[in-house]
Symmetry: C2
Subunit: 193 residues, 2 copies
Amino acid sequence: MHQKLFSYINQYTSLTLSSEEETLIRSAFIPKKVKKKQFFLQEGDVSKYAGFIVKGAMRQYSVDDKGVEHIVHLYIENYWVNDRESATMLTPSVYNIDAWEDTDLLTITRPDMLDLITKIPSMAQMIRLMDERNAIASQRRLNSAISSTAEKRYEEFANNYPQFIQRFPQYLIASYLGVTQETLSRIKRQLFK
Amino acid sequence: MHQKLFSYINQYTSLTLSSEEETLIRSAFIPKKVKKKQFFLQEGDVSKYAGFIVKGAMRQYSVDDKGVEHIVHLYIENYWVNDRESATMLTPSVYNIDAWEDTDLLTITRPDMLDLITKIPSMAQMIRLMDERNAIASQRRLNSAISSTAEKRYEEFANNYPQFIQRFPQYLIASYLGVTQETLSRIKRQLFK
DNA sequence: CGCGGGTTTGATGATGCTCAAGCCCGGTGG
DNA sequence: CCACCGGGCTTGAGCATCATCAAACCCGCG
């Protein structure tokens, strides 16, 4: 279980984890299973754990006044799930995170994570890299949200994240792109001629 | 000049900078002035410097096929400007960053920054905090982009960032919010009755 | 066969965009 | 002191895009 996390960390850092470091990590990260449709984080709760997905698929979404869900993130293996705003500020989350498929996670509390960062250099390095990738991805998504048509957003998404199109139904993709499922359906029809 | 950066760092970290650390920082951060309408980063160039704004105001935007500008960020004092995608991947930027007011910056190359992070603990800590705040802000903006009406987006923005409304003209705010200036004008009329 | 989850299609309407014109206001120069 | 100009904001009319609502369809499965 933890092995996938180790290779993930090694893959993203120049260094290799020592066995003491692996032990530290092993004791900080607690395995957790979340069954399909069950919550990892529920709106109104304060996020206590960050999670690393070993196997499965999850989604993060907000629900507006009309009860409509808006997908803010889709996650599969090797993604980190969390509402960082809630975890950092200790405020109730406005998001839900639930499992779309049965999911195996490794979870860690914020204090434990901060501790690992100070003790394990490659952990600090990995976190910085994750933040960087995250910043880049957010930037891209933001830019396409404000400057592209729905059609281009879909094309871009389909090119960059084909795995997601396999694993999630179209109406979730539509919501992720900020359009309704009907609109996405029509967009795809356009693209095929 | 560098003093503003020191107090910025001290403000965000538990530690205080030693005088050796201040010296290191002083030699890595190079002052630069950018006059109104001049570029800090231009589309097609690879970003070589990150900048800390000591005084002034800048904007980051992309230009679409029709020549329309789309504001992805607005910056004032104490903000960091950069296209992290370009800086990290060493790819040509798709963004422009220019000065909206005459601006004083402290600039630093990526290698120098990485060096400071390894040598100065409070620098590493500060960067992590910045990334965290950045992640939170992006998340919020993304969520409101996909789930809110233009009207709510404006209200939220006006409440959270009143300084920006002072310093930038309305048509830039409109672009930042992903609507045209005409639409924003009409939205404001609605809000006043 | 019928049901559940997901997708498609059509008709209608709201929202926001485009284009064009006018307005407002603070310079600047005659 | 006035005329004009530029930058920014507003207003209006028409149009494109996308949302909404409702119905039909598709398909795997019990």
